[in-house]
């Protein structure tokens, strides 16, 4: 597939990196000569110096033969205009734009095919808010990915040293077949797709595939008391904070928002229905204690200042908040922050990367989500009638090493498979796979289609 990416900021860079590692032909356009030089050295993509809103540059990047354009610069206007130009240069092109301004987002019909021709708008803030919401639905998890509107969940959870499963092979974990499946294990920087004989160690991050409505709290991956999650304190009432509060208001959660700026507080209080808006500083220990940070199930730090977010989270953690969610912008900070004891990190950029990658898949792959560590991903795909994987027991399907079916969705029914489960045509599959086997897997899922 030939993909043009406009903007080599963090979002564009990460998407290009992922796609080039999957052997796609990527053209990356940016105005900054220094960035282009860096990319030429580090990525196996065609880096083009110039503006993504220049028809000449777009033509030079072969837009006529391209399959997709991703406009991922920091400027909404540039992204939208690039899509508009692209639409006129190649009407068959699929266009994805990163758009942040809420004002643009409200005007859905403006982006429709006739006018701007954007096929998919990725709003990083909303993508991130959605991610935080999913996370909160499964307290105790450090990563949650929803599939099929939340009917299948992929839950990342850190294995505590006192968990009964530590140092035991997966095969010996009984009583959960058909309910829970360990889909991936992240140990340090290494991701593996486990087999029966692999063991879980303390502090591994394991990804569990579960049915959406029965997260197995009785099961030893979670601690006692992690089940309820009802009290949330959000620090920062900016675009993200207010969007998050609005989303959470619709659940049963008890939401408090702390904001420094008095005017913003007023505006927030007018906009929000149930949530309590507090005027104050998130780094103020007394304020946090006063608002019972000790009993808070979640403390979400989403101010515009990422260093501040880290400090607020550390403070809240020290004061007894059960779980913190911290917003970080620089992707390179993420491993550092995890090391100093921050539970969960979210980032608009990472969410945007996720959302865009989820959309980019070809063929029968419906969506794909990168997992922590980025070397593995969860893929949602449809089983074709003509594919080799259907109508035989899973134990006999020759999946590439490093890939495994985590769930089968058959209409209303959800199956967490075992060796004797059988995939039927039209089933939707949730597959966990190491990144390096993804092309092989794609072929497996689509190869028959290519004959038509």
């Amino acid at each position: 597939m030939k993909i043009i990416i406009v903007g080599a900021g963090e979002v564009g860079y990460h998407i290009s990196q992922r796609l080039s590692e999957e052997n796609q032909e990527v053209f990356l356009i940016d105005k900054d000569a220094e960035k282009i030089r860096r990319i030429t050295e580090n990525l196996d993509v065609q880096a083009i110096l110039g503006s993504g809103t220049s028809p000449k540059i777009l033509r030079a990047s072969g837009i006529k033969e391209a399959d997709m354009l991703v406009a991922a610069t920091d400027s909404d206007e540039v992204n939208l205009f690039a899509c508009l130009l692209a639409k006129n240069l190649n009407p068959y092109l699929l266009k994805v734009a990163r758009v942040r301004s809420p004002e643009y987002l409200e005007e859905k019909e403006l982006f429709s095919q006739e006018f701007l021709g954007v096929d998919r708008i990725i709003n990083p803030v909303m993508a991130m808010v959605e991610q935080i919401r999913s996370l909160m639905m499964v307290p105790g998890a450090s990563d949650v990915v929803d599939f099929e509107e939340g009917r299948v969940k992929l839950i990342g959870v850190t294995v505590k040293p006192d968990s009964p499963f530590v140092d035991r092979p997966l095969l010996s974990i009984r009583g959960v077949e058909g309910k829970v499946l360990v889909g991936a294990i992240v140990r340090g920087e290494q991701v593996s797709i486990p087999r029966g004989e692999d063991t879980i160690r303390a502090n591994d991050l394991v990804y569990l595939v579960v049915k959406g409505n029965d997260v197995p709290y009785e099961f030893g991956f979670f601690r006692e008391g992690e089940k309820e999650g009802g009290r949330v304190i959000i620090v920062g009432g900016g675009v993200t904070g207010s969007a998050l509060a609005e989303v959470l208001e619709q659940t049963k959660m008890n939401v408090k928002v702390i904001e420094k700026d008095a005017q913003k507080c007023t505006a927030l209080s007018e906009k929000l229905k149930k949530a309590i808006v507090l005027h104050g500083d998130g780094t103020d220990k007394d304020l946090l204690l006063e608002e019972n940070i000790r009993d808070a199930d979640f403390m979400v730090a989403v101010t515009g200042d990422e260093e501040n977010n880290v400090l607020i989270s550390l403070l809240a953690k020290g004061l007894g908040a059960k779980k913190t969610i911290t917003r970080i912008n620089k992707l390179s900070y993420i491993p550092l922050v995890s090391a100093i004891g921050i539970d969960t990190v979210v980032s608009t950029r990472l969410s945007a990367v996720r959302a865009i990658l989820r959309y980019i898949r070809k063929g029968r792959i419906i969506s794909a989500v990168p997992l922590k560590g980025e070397h593995a991903e969860a893929i949602e795909a449809e089983a074709l009638e003509t594919s080799d994987i259907v109508n035989v027991p899973l134990s006999q399907v020759k999946f590439p090493k490093g890939a495994l079916v985590g769930a089968i969705v058959r209409g209303e029914e959800i199956i967490i498979p075992r060796g004797d489960s059988v995939i039927r045509p039209k089933d939707r599959l949730i597959i966990l796979a190491l990144q390096k086997v993804v092309p092989k897997l794609e072929k497996m899922l689509t190869v028959k289609l290519d004959f038509f």
Partner: protein
């Protein structure tokens, strides 16, 4: 640098070079020569050694290579390839001692075409074929070949590509480096086949056509004949070879664009225009110089001048005339052509036209600035400004080239070579041309150069082929510091 990673890759490389002996083996079989056994033995040893190296370093990932790894792989790879290439010469007894065999082999891989053989024709056909194959492999680059066919390299390929194809500006034809390498090799193969057909059409034997085409496209210059192209004394063959030498010295991305249907791309490219004009002027000057003084007819003078200038400026080194007997001006112009070399991104050696253009323009700007001290001007190439880091890298390259050139010449002179022979031998080797003047002139060979001199020239050939930086960086103490 990760030594195991480097060794693992070298193992793969050695294995591939071993595999390529199969073609020479086939030739030896067809002519039912005893050399078939020697080639089979060499092939077995090489492939075996490569395999052992590859297996011994098991578990090393070669997908992510650093700059340092890339440089080490390429430099070491070329030295090692030289050893592998020398094996058939030694095993078959065609060349008696290691230094000579290694010289011949490195001269092949670096597409220099300098030979130590006095009687080429007495060698078995299989060995002669091998001599041509190493030139052909070396022309487009053994590393580029491995990037094209090894699927697992990924971005690591980029580091290797830059180390082996050092062009002032990286010219990626396709977004993915392995696709770029594939395209280059396809164009290369296509042109080679075309030349074989044209030579066959003129009545050359299949064996000779293949050998000559294999040595023209890489601008190599080995010939299976003692008298090189002069053997045929045919204007048709001269013409075909001139055209293909020039094509080989033109940037391969232009060929690719031409094949994609972009007509007139040679004329539009600023570097190509200068290159062709330069060739034209040089031919004209030499023709006028040798007309009357050496050749009585203008047509003859033009034919030999055109061939010899093309052969020298493209750094091929084929010979149709004993230019050592030409007047002084012509000889100087021929040596000067060696310095110029072909275009960047071609298989030619030398300083490369694009560097000459940029340096000339930069020098002009410096003079201009003396007249208008406040003028703000940029050095432009084809309407686009040349970034200052590219500029300084070109000047650095030029300085290093000259330094290596001078040191090597001094050593050769110290060994007792006369000045003309020393100067031209170093030029012919460092610019990957082949024949020089005097002792190493068109009718002579490198056998008489003293042992130390041969090693200096071997290093010079590799320095020239990899364009200095890649090799020299390995000798910096800084490189080895952790």
């Amino acid at each position: 640098m990760h030594p195991r990673r480097v060794l693992r890759f070298i193992g793969v490389l050695v294995f591939f070079v071993g595999l390529s002996m199969a073609l020479a083996l086939l030739v030896a079989f067809l002519y039912s020569e005893p050399s078939a056994g020697d080639l089979a033995a060499s092939m077995g040893i090489t492939c075996g050694a490569g395999l052992i190296l590859f297996l011994a370093t098991k578990g090393e990932e070669v997908t992510h290579l650093s700059h340092r790894d890339g440089v080490a792989i390429v430099t070491l790879g070329w030295f090692v390839a030289g050893v592998v290439g020398a094996l058939p010469f030694l095993v078959s007894g065609s060349i008696g001692n290691f230094t000579d065999a290694y010289f011949e082999s490195v001269s092949g891989f670096t597409t220099t075409g300098a030979s130590i053989l006095s009687d080429i024709e007495k060698l078995p056909k299989g060995i002669l074929m091998w001599r041509s194959i190493i030139q052909w492999l070396g022309g487009m680059g053994i590393i580029v070949l491995s990037i094209a066919i090894l699927p697992f390299l990924g971005i690591g390929g980029m580091q290797l590509y830059k180390a082996e194809v050092p062009s002032p500006v990286v010219d990626k034809l396709k977004p993915r480096i392995s696709d770029t390498a594939k395209v280059l090799w396809k164009v290369y193969i296509l042109l080679t086949v075309l030349q074989i057909l044209l030579l066959l059409g003129g009545g050359m034997s299949l064996f000779d056509s293949v050998c000559h085409a294999f040595c023209t496209m890489p601008t190599g210059g080995f010939s299976p004949l003692n008298k090189s192209i002069a053997h045929y004394d045919s204007p048709y063959f001269d013409g075909v070879i001139i055209v293909f030498m020039l094509l080989a010295a033109i940037n391969f991305s232009l060929h690719y664009r031409l094949l994609k249907g972009e007509a007139g791309v040679f004329g539009r490219d600023p570097e190509c225009r200068v290159f062709l004009i330069l060739v034209g002027i040089l031919i004209l000057l030499v023709t006028l110089d040798i007309y009357g003084s050496v050749y009585p007819s203008l047509a003859q003078a033009f034919r030999y001048a055109a061939f010899q200038i093309s052969s020298m400026i493209t750094t091929t080194g084929f010979v149709t005339a004993d230019y050592d007997t030409w007047p002084s001006l012509s000889k100087c112009l021929l040596v000067l052509s060696m310095f110029f070399g072909g275009m960047a991104g071609s298989t030619g050696g030398g300083i490369k036209t694009v560097r000459l253009i940029v340096m000339a323009k930069h020098a002009y700007e410096e003079v201009f600035r003396i007249i208008h001290p406040h003028a703000v001007r940029a050095v432009k190439l084809g309407g686009k400004p040349v970034p200052s880091d590219v500029l300084s890298s070109i000047w650095g390259f030029f300085f290093l080239y000259l330094t290596c050139y001078m040191i090597s010449t001094l050593i050769l002179a110290g060994l007792g070579l006369d000045p003309i022979s020393a100067f031209s031998a170093v030029a012919a080797c460092i610019f990957n041309v082949g024949p020089g003047l005097g002792l190493v002139g068109p009718t002579q060979n490198y056998l008489a150069v003293p042992l130390v001199g041969k090693w200096v020239l071997i290093i010079g050939m590799i320095l020239g082929r990899l364009e200095i930086y890649t090799v020299i960086v390995l000798f910096m103490p800084e490189y080895w510091r952790k």
